[in-house]
């Protein structure tokens, strides 16, 4: 996004013109990478970095969706429970094996998952906009509903893929790679590129920012505020479903701990990435970086022998707060 003055006069951009707020999360990530390497040199090994990046995929994908919801001034607390629900429905469908052949089965299951995710998002969006209820309350409610439905479907236990053959076909979606790049990383990149494209280059994206910035101004400008908000929740639902597509082949099951606290991780990733929680600012790439930061912090903690296992949570919390402070001080310059 180089905004050259339209007069045609070339404008020299010095480093001072760079929006430091947008760069800050990447600086924080770089600092963490250096820190991790000092603590344990194996950290910077390509295998470890790929592991971490791959593991961050679920949160990153979900957080791209959350960037839309939050930019439009909304909030979705149900994404973790929704992940478990979508995963459960998808696995049950595959266990019922209504189709012949593994590939058609997988394709149908994936389509179903995306459809269920979109429907869950639509429900969140409609209840929020048509019902005019605070999104915090709505999605807190649907969070409980999705979680309970999952446990009901699982009859209290976990839902595992029965067919080992199908499992083997599906496994590469998490464990496979293309030219050495793990598939989940590619999925994150594609989702983020599409997300950035929609948010920055289309009129829908512009409307999202306008609605989050000031919904009165948006309404007086003739923007269908409720429709825009609802669509952001649908995008969130689809992102959750895509994350599930990558999650299911990893352990082949939906358990009661699937997606636990993912909503908070996703929101944290979004905020670390520089998106304002009050809406009106959306940074897709910052969000992806935020998700990486979260995972890297956890990785460094396990790889290091710095603190007792009881204190890891405290150190993680402190690192996140410090990252935000660094970002704040950069943007205040």
């Amino acid at each position: 996004m180089t905004d050259l003055a339209a007069t045609g006069k070339p404008v020299r951009r010095s480093w001072k013109d760079v929006d430091l707020r947008a760069v800050a999360p990447f600086v924080a990530l770089a600092v963490l990478l250096v820190f991790g390497t000092i603590v344990n040199p194996t950290f910077i090994g390509i295998d470890n970095l790929l592991n971490v990046a791959t593991r961050s995929a679920f949160i990153a994908i979900i957080a791209v969706g959350a960037t839309f919801v939050i930019s439009a001034g909304g909030l979705d607390l149900s994404v973790g429970a929704m992940s478990a629900f979508v995963a459960g429905v998808m696995i049950l469908f595959m266990n019922a094996a209504p189709l012949d052949g593994n590939l058609p089965m997988l394709a149908a299951a994936m389509l179903l998952a995306v459809g269920v995710g979109a429907a869950c998002g639509l429900a969140n969006g409609l209840i929020t906009t048509v019902g005019r209820i605070e999104p915090f309350i709505v999605t807190l409610g649907t969070m409980g509903i999705f979680r309970a439905l999952t446990i009901y479907l699982a009859e209290g236990g976990s839902i595992a893929m029965k067919s080992q053959e199908l499992r083997a076909t599906y496994r590469p979606v998490y464990f496979g790679d293309v030219f050495g790049v793990p598939v989940p990383i590619i999925v994150v990149a594609v989702v983020a590129i599409i997300g950035a494209f929609i948010l920055y280059r289309t009129s829908f994206g512009r409307h999202v920012i306008a609605v989050g910035s000031n919904d009165d101004v948006a309404r007086y400008s003739g923007i269908p505020v409720n429709r825009v908000r609802t669509v952001t929740y649908i995008i969130q639902g689809i992102c959750v479903a895509i994350a599930v597509l990558v999650y299911v082949p990893r352990l082949g099951a939906a358990t009661p701990t699937t997606g636990l606290l993912w909503e908070l991780q996703a929101i944290t990733a979004v905020v670390i990435g520089g998106t304002a929680l009050r809406g009106g600012v959306g940074r897709i790439w910052g969000t992806v970086c935020g998700a990486l930061i979260l995972e890297v912090v956890g990785n460094i903690m396990v790889l290091s022998d710095l603190v007792s296992e009881y204190l890891i949570g405290a150190v993680q919390g402190a690192i996140i707060i410090i990252a935000m402070l660094v970002q704040r001080s950069l943007s205040r310059r």
Partner: protein, 519 residues
């Protein structure tokens, strides 16, 4: 608008100056926005600072109240040089600033707001009774009567402003700075406020009064300082300046002709016919016609339902009734319907409903007509930039840089940007609500000329305004609303303040004459 306020009979000319300003300058980066300002402020005197938007009034005020530090120059109080570390420091020396925006917590009571952050305590608990009494006394000393236990959210704008003033005056004060205090007040409310300022002056306090409204300045000020382009043009006793002089000094040229010539529309072809339009809770049975090339004014007191009627008409509020456009019945259930039909509404609330203050000029400009800038799925940013260049040129939007945020523009330039934004929709009917609120005189003139040129071009304009001279100056006809109903239509020689006030207030002709006489 004219206002009458009893003038303090004598100005204590011999009084030692309270504050002296010498060679004050302020630069932001490379840009010097204030240059070599000299000023002498005396106790018991109302000193008005006037100037166009961008002349440096706000910066000067912030320097004096400690919100900013000067680049050069000195401030001295009672002859001793001072440098303020911040607004609190300035307050300790008796300098208080009454902000233009209402900065009160709407859910707290009047007393709670007045004592916010400096609550009176009895032991460990807050002493509500003492605070209520203190608040009542503070409000009463300003000549008003407001129940201190009412929550601020239920007060009128004028009452809130009084509360804000009472809050500011709670600390010991020697110099009170008012920043455009009357920008959102009706004439009656303005008059009450000026009386309050007079009360403050009579206590021997110095008042610095910043305003766009020259009749007010003429009415209240003892001394007037004119700023232009960051420099002091003159400081003069108010008695020696007429409003026309002030305007000329501010703009640097003759602006005696504020309102453009506008020939009333020749034809009688109605483009918009409204019949029995109800906006529940606000307007009832509104019936009127708008002709091609006409400028139609809507006058009335604040709260008469003018804004709500317009919002109902374009589909921003629920409304019932018949609307015909070019003779064909229309229903606008959503504002997008009316936009598509060629009607645009420019809100009176520029900052709250008109512009995204935290976004760039480009994003604001194209927001309503974004569809025009989309090619395939993509927004064509090049075309947006071209449009911005065009709008800056056409509407004379004055901005140092094109990548500023809308909130960084002055009020007048924000209004021009809002007009440019809505004109991108290429409307045939333009409804402008309070087109010049909080805007300096030079920009006002531009906006009037622009409205007139729209009408010349065959478009129809509805102007909603609380400034009667403005309506009289530019409109062909004026409809007057009172308590949600259109009560009168005035045109030709009947278009005068006296007659409009009669209709707007429901007062008798005698009462109105009395008001007019005082004016």
């Amino acid at each position: 608008m004219s206002v009458a306020v009893p003038r303090a009979s004598t100005i204590p000319a011999t009084a030692a100056p309270l504050m002296e300003v010498r060679g004050l300058a302020k630069a932001f980066g490379m840009v010097e926005v204030l240059k070599d300002i000299d000023l002498t402020i005396a106790s018991g005197e109302v000193h008005a600072i006037i100037g166009e938007n961008g002349a440096g009034k706000s910066t000067l005020m912030k320097l004096l109240a400690g919100h900013l530090q000067p680049t050069r120059g000195t401030l001295s109080i009672d002859g001793d040089p001072v440098a303020f570390a911040g607004p609190v420091d300035a307050e300790h020396r008796g300098i208080v600033l009454v902000h233009q925006e209402i900065l009160l917590a709407p859910d707290l009571t009047v007393a709670q707001n007045i004592y916010l952050g400096r609550e009176l305590r009895r032991g460990f608990t807050v002493d509500d009774r003492a605070m209520n009494e203190g608040a009542a006394a503070a409000v009463r000393s300003l000549g008003a009567d407001i129940d201190p236990s009412v929550v601020v959210g239920r007060l009128s704008i004028a009452q809130r402003q009084l509360v804000q003033i009472a809050r500011a005056l709670l600390v010991p004060h020697r110099l009170v700075i008012f920043d455009e205090p009357t920008a959102s007040l009706t004439p009656t409310e303005t008059e009450a406020l000026l009386a309050v300022i007079d009360t403050i002056r009579r206590k021997g306090v110095a008042v610095l009064y910043i305003s766009h409204r020259l009749p007010e300045v003429k009415a209240i000020a003892d001394r007037v300082t004119v700023l232009r382009d960051g420099r002091r043009v003159t400081s003069e006793l108010a008695d020696r300046l007429e409003t026309a002089d002030m305007a000329r000094l501010m703009v640097g040229r003759d602006v005696s002709k504020l309102y453009p010539d506008h020939r009333a529309a020749a034809g009688d072809e109605a483009v918009l016919e409204v019949e029995g339009l109800d906006v529940p809770g606000y307007a009832k049975g509104a019936t009127f016609r708008l002709k091609r090339g006409e400028i139609l004014g809507f006058a009335g007191l604040i709260g008469a339902g003018r804004t709500e009627l317009m919002e109902g008409l374009v589909g921003l509020r629920t409304a019932h009734g018949a609307v015909r456009l070019d003779g064909r019945p229309k229903r606008f259930s959503d504002v997008r319907d009316s936009m598509r039909a060629g009607i645009v509404y420019l809100s009176e609330d520029r900052k709250g409903k008109g512009l995204l203050l935290a976004e760039s000029l480009r994003i604001n400009l194209t927001l309503a007509a974004l569809g025009r800038f989309v090619r395939g799925f993509l927004i064509d940013k090049g075309r947006e930039r071209t449009a911005l260049d065009g709008a800056i040129e056409e509407f004379d939007i004055r901005t140092r840089r094109k990548d500023l945020l809308a909130g960084q523009l002055s009020g007048g330039n924000q209004q021009k940007l809002l007009i440019a934004k809505m004109m991108l929709l290429d409307p045939s009917i333009i409804i402008i609500d309070e087109p010049t609120r909080g805007i300096d005189i030079g920009t006002k003139e531009q906006i009037y000329r622009f409205i007139a040129s729209l009408a010349e071009a065959g478009k129809s304009v509805i102007v909603v305004s609380s400034e009667m001279p403005e309506l009289i100056g530019i409109c062909d006809r004026i409809l007057v609303m009172r308590e949600g109903r259109i009560v009168a239509e005035v045109s030709g020689e009947h278009m005068n303040e006296n007659e409009i006030v009669v209709h707007a207030t429901g007062a008798t002709a005698e009462e109105a004459a009395l008001v007019a006489e005082r004016a």
